[in-house]
Amino acid sequence: MASLVGLRGVRAEGGGRRWRLNRIVSQIVAIVGALLLWQLVATTLTSEGTLPTPWSVGRALVGLWGTAAYWSALLTTLRAWAIGLLICSVVGVPVGLALGSSRVAMASTRWVIDFFRTIPTVALLPLLLLLFGATARMEITMIVLAAIWPIIIQSIYSVSQIEPLLKWVVRVFRFSVLDRARFLWVPSIALMVSTGLRLSATMALLMAISAEYIGGAPGLGSELVRMQTTLQRPEVYAYAVTAGLLGVAINVVIGRLQRRVLCWHPSIREGH
């Protein structure tokens, strides 16, 4: 691991730092632009108070940070999200790898998978509510039903990423099965599987908030509904912004991990 870190250090000096700075500046410009547009729409196009200004939403958000309800809702949502994503990975990766290892299995399940993944999970909500009520269990089931597909599909295709010549190399040098898994299979499939995980993570968050918002399971979504019913508009948007920030944070963290662990990968080492 130390060598990987050293490598990144060396590469950062080669003109990469300035490029990185440029990227951060342009991102800040984009954010400021979006906020200005929001401000413009809120003050000119909509009637007083329908769409709160970014400033009032920001103030509401800071205000919410002082309440226990906010943090407990955030934690509840995160917990359901994490459990859901864990189930997706534990089930989805092995299933995807198994399907991907066999051409017959891959071909015969393609339509079934396409069918199930295009069913809008929200349509299953009434059924799930009937089964589990407005609970975390309903929420987690929804997360799994919606977010497992990217992991399965990426895992299926990850199998084809194993270099055929390296399969010979491990046979020539008589690698044990465990060593083949550790030194060939895991690194070969890591990029595609982790990309699936990243897609699933976003999807899972979306589903968590939906299950709370529409289905009434406890969390950020149901807090948002509570603010709506008490007509606290800036707080409604503050919760929406929280969900958005959570999504960004999750993506950034997984993306960072991916780049760090897979710094050897052609698609990452060149784009770095």
């Binding site: 060598s3 190399v169 020539v172 060593d179 050897w264 052609p266």
Partner: protein, 270 residues
């Protein structure tokens, strides 16, 4: 398993008997016989698309022959035996991009039951031997093609095999690197006393490197000629290739590949 296979050939290391390979109706190899003696450098040369890679797969147990057998040290092989290593043509795909060069070599030694320290020492020694001693921490993709192929050679050497199979190992590097790698391979072979079987489509390379050249004919592949190369153990890119013996051997191999009969001149000089 016939224990009398090696009788009368105490030095025989690899014995290929009646090797045939078919994919469905397509006959790739037809009844190849080949004997490689211990310490020999044998080049197998044939036209492109002559099933040379298929032959190498059968020799190494990566692919099962349709008929015939491959015997190494008196034992018929069905998988790559521990006393054999392979250097593949495509160095960019045969090294693991997620491991440093050093780790690429040490990881190939895990089946040897050496302890971690011994694996490390052997890998460093092999990489130093091929001239990569100062580049142990680099990843394969940070190195030139020639360096990558050196690393692949080091991996094979560190494994300390009795026999190394090389599949067109220098076909994907530039001419200068190619000459360097040829000389490196010759030097290592002479120094370590290992047996080398190298598959190539390049006639000059085959004659320059080999103690014996096995000439393959095309479709289905069969042995059309076996040429003893008596150019001595010390060879060099300029004087060896300027030797009249070299050019007459080279024409004999060339004619063999083209399917022409050896001429009287070949018989005298070769």
């Amino acid at each position: 398993m016939n224990p009398s296979v090696n009788a009368g050939h105490p030095g025989v290391l690899l014995n290929v008997q009646g090797l045939s390979k078919k994919y469905g109706d397509r006959e790739i190899l037809r009844e190849l016989d080949l004997i490689v003696e211990s310490g020999e450098f044998v080049c197998i040369v044939g036209p492109s698309g002559a099933g040379k890679t298929t032959l190498l797969q059968c020799l190494s147990g990566l692919s099962a022959p349709t008929a015939g057998r491959v015997v190494l040290n008196g034992r018929e092989i069905h998988e790559t035996p521990p006393e054999m290593a392979i250097v593949f043509q495509d160095y960019s795909r045969s090294l693991m991009p997620w491991l440093s060069v050093l780790d690429n070599v040490t990881v190939a030694l895990r089946s040897t039951k050496l302890n971690k320290q011994a694996r490390h020492e052997r890998a460093v020694a092999a990489l130093t031997e091929v001239g990569l001693g100062d580049h142990l921490a680099l990843y394969p993709w940070q190195m030139s093609g020639g360096m990558q192929q050196r690393a692949a050679i080091a991996r094979a050497l560190a494994y300390q095999p009795e026999i190394v199979l090389m599949d067109e190992p220098f076909a994907s590097v530039d001419a200068q690197t190619r000459a360097d790698l040829e000389d490196l391979t010759l030097a290592l072979k002479n120094h370590l006393g290992i047996t080398v079987v190298l598959v190539t489509h390049d006639i000059d390379e085959a004659v320059y490197l080999a103690d014996r050249v096995v000439v393959l004919g095309n479709r289905p592949t069969q042995v059309v000629d076996i040429v003893e190369v008596e150019l001595g153990a010390q060879r060099d890119q300029i004087s060896t290739k300027a030797d009249p013996k070299f050019s007459s051997l080279r024409s004999r191999v060339y004619r063999g590949i083209r399917g022409e009969a050896p001429t009287a001149a070949d018989a005298v000089e070769g």
